[in-house]
Symmetry: C2
């Protein structure tokens, strides 16, 4: 079910690559004034209508731009442009918010000379404040796809500390195909409560339904594995666009190289998801939880997500404390099938619990591991079935509190 951690020999990583390195795609960004100094308005443009797919927040409260983008996507399964603003989520902004999202779509469609329905709109930032449309209008006017391709990745950020991009290359039917992605951080302790945005683009030839199916499956194993179930923001979305600029046999499950393409696509999503988790607000560590022996892959993922969602586990990692009791506590309330007497837990290479009996541990060695490593790995075996699953999170630090106690000020 999972892509192996080591890169497939057929898939090549493009260093410093981005969506702008994928045939047919252009990206750019400007500062329009929604944020004080930083870039805050970005554009992805495709030189033709791209096959498109999307996954959206499960939150019942959905921002106006997100609802509009869903409609656009449903119209024809194609998109040609994505406009994203940061600094304001345009969520819970009533009828004015709907009108503002629509105006953003229309203005961009006019500027690019495409139908409204080919334009997706995405917003991230504070909930409940009206968009300053004079600034957005001027910003849209200032966007130029011929300059500053790297500005897009920066323009979509909120409290993220770094841009998040990836680009890979592979061969399909002897043609070079690229897949690239860009994301903004959930910047959150329960990641999806703040807005997570992800955009994937490929020049491969694939139809919207196959792309949608692929995006759904891959999101479940990647972007949805950095969140606690149901903790999604009003604005979360991941869009995938395919320009079909490379001419090969149409990709589908029947294509002999489907698995390689899927692997490469999932690699992009996994990499972005891990970058998001690592850049959680105030985070000092990436936490990776690997569960095996669960009743099903789904339950394995659920157990892993429960652990990375536990504030007690997160603070223990921040404190470099080998407190595996908090891990087993979280397993117990995960709602999954377990045998309480058969659980194995390891922190990094160190076993701390075997068949639910505590091991003699060298706490100093574990603390050293937790101090030195960037990524703290918990490995669990539940000895119930064959289910395997992963999830990623980050630790909980003083800075998380500082950032969120004063976010609006």
């Amino acid at each position: 079910m999972f892509v192996s951690e080591q890169i497939h020999t057929d898939v090549k990583m493009i260093e410093n690559g981005s969506i702008a390195d994928v045939k047919g795609f252009y990206t750019t960004g400007v500062h329009c004034g929604l944020k004080k100094n930083k870039l805050d308005l970005g554009l992805i443009y495709c030189d033709r209508p791209a096959e498109a797919a999307g996954v959206f927040t499960m939150n019942q409260i959905q921002a106006a731009p997100l609802r509009l983008t869903k409609q656009a996507l449903n119209h024809s399964g194609q998109l040609q442009a994505v406009i994203v603003n940061s600094g304001n989520a345009n969520a819970v902004t009533g009828k004015q918010g709907e009108a503002d999202a629509k105006e953003m779509q229309q203005l961009l469609a006019e500027k690019l000379n495409v139908c409204d329905e080919l334009v997706a709109v995405s917003s991230t930032g504070v909930i409940g404040e009206k968009l300053q449309m004079n600034k957005v209008r001027a910003g849209i006017n200032a966007l130029s796809i011929h300059t500053k391709p790297f500005a897009f990745a920066e323009a979509i950020l909120t409290t993220d500390t770094a841009t998040k991009e990836i680009c890979v290359e592979l061969i399909i039917d002897e043609q070079i195909v690229r897949i690239a992605g860009v994301a903004k951080g959930s910047g959150m302790i329960h990641p999806n409560m703040a807005t997570m945005l992800g955009f994937l683009a490929t020049d491969a030839t694939i139809q919207a339904p196959a792309l949608q199916q692929l995006l759904g499956e891959v999101t479940d194993q990647t972007f949805n594995r950095i969140t606690v179930d149901g903790d999604c923001s009003t604005n979360d979305m991941v869009l995938a666009l395919a320009s079909k600029a490379v001419d090969h046999h149409v990709l589908s499950e029947q294509h002999p190289q489907w698995e390689t393409f899927k692997y490469a696509f999932q690699l992009c999503a996994t990499s972005l998801a891990k970058m998001i988790a690592r850049d959680g607000e105030g985070a000092t560590k990436l936490i990776e939880v690997n569960v095996s022996g669960a009743a099903s892959d789904e339950e394995a993922g659920q157990v892993a997500k429960t652990i990375v969602g536990s504030d007690l586990v997160k603070t223990a990692v921040f404190g470099k404390d080998a407190n595996w009791g908090r891990i087993i506590g979280a397993i117990g309330y995960s709602g999954c099938t377990i045998a309480p007497d058969k659980i194995d837990i390891a922190i990094g290479p160190y076993s701390t619990l075997v068949e639910s009996e505590p091991c003699e541990t060298n706490d100093a060695a574990i603390t050293a591991y937790m101090t030195e490593e960037e990524t703290i790995v918990f490995t669990l075996h539940l000895h119930i079935g064959d289910g395997i699953g992963k999830a990623w999170g980050c630790d909980l630090s003083y800075d998380y509190v500082r950032i969120n106690a004063g976010y609006r000020t």
Copy 2:
């Protein structure tokens, strides 16, 4: 469904009252050395077998003392003593942990000259470390029911900053009856992930099945309303004991004063639950969420619990930030029926959202309210049905991180 906030005229609060003020009951505590300096071993004793009821953690990983106490309770529905240690949860301690819990029960039963099955054992503290039984044995030996009644409330604490006790008095069939309770804090941001212990005692005459029914109902509205669903520790328990020392018609739903008794019992539980929430680790404020207009009382409670469980809401309260966007975000992922366009939210006396349209708010006034008040109240109307519900929590501060990053050290 709820007891009114103002005290019923038939129920009198006993200032500084405790379980030791209830006929038939004795409490005490000692320092046995599981904690460095503080009291760490406590005893509740009844001079006769008391009718007993209990509610226990939903966590699938259950500590050895908790499993033993369940067995004792199931044996005859009676208990005569409860021994509690802090400093060590005796959870996930394998076969040795089971033997240690059993030995605590036996030693106390011997000392008090009662059957093993009349002794409940309860532990709280770090998970996964073996109990230092030499210290526990000496401590049990040192316990004396004739001294230090107030030591019990102190002996059960972990990171709590204050003891938590309540005692009320009411008249049943013209006899004075008392109900008292004592609890230890969950000391947690998701309260029930750390151990919550509650002990209620009354001298009223009531049989175990009626007491169990009452305790279950009341716990749902009180202790379970300071937690996020399913987030329970390995050791959570609430026990209720009735000495029947006051001679009146047996209490049951048929008794004309049942509602008064229920009211008083629930008042004790509500008070303890709020003390626990207020004393959450690092907390500076109590948060109370009142939901009305939900599809059912259960869903109202669920919405309220989701909000008090949101780290974003908690950090906003710590930052005195009127960030109602985070409240509606939590409503949206609560999993309950809502009409996204019909939600009202008030912070204290200030409306911030009416039918999902943002109000013109005076942020300075709301910040002043959040600065000055000890209890921050969010009032929500969902305009879906008649369901009402409450939940309590606390804010998330730097101190929460400090305490939990270094809990074991």
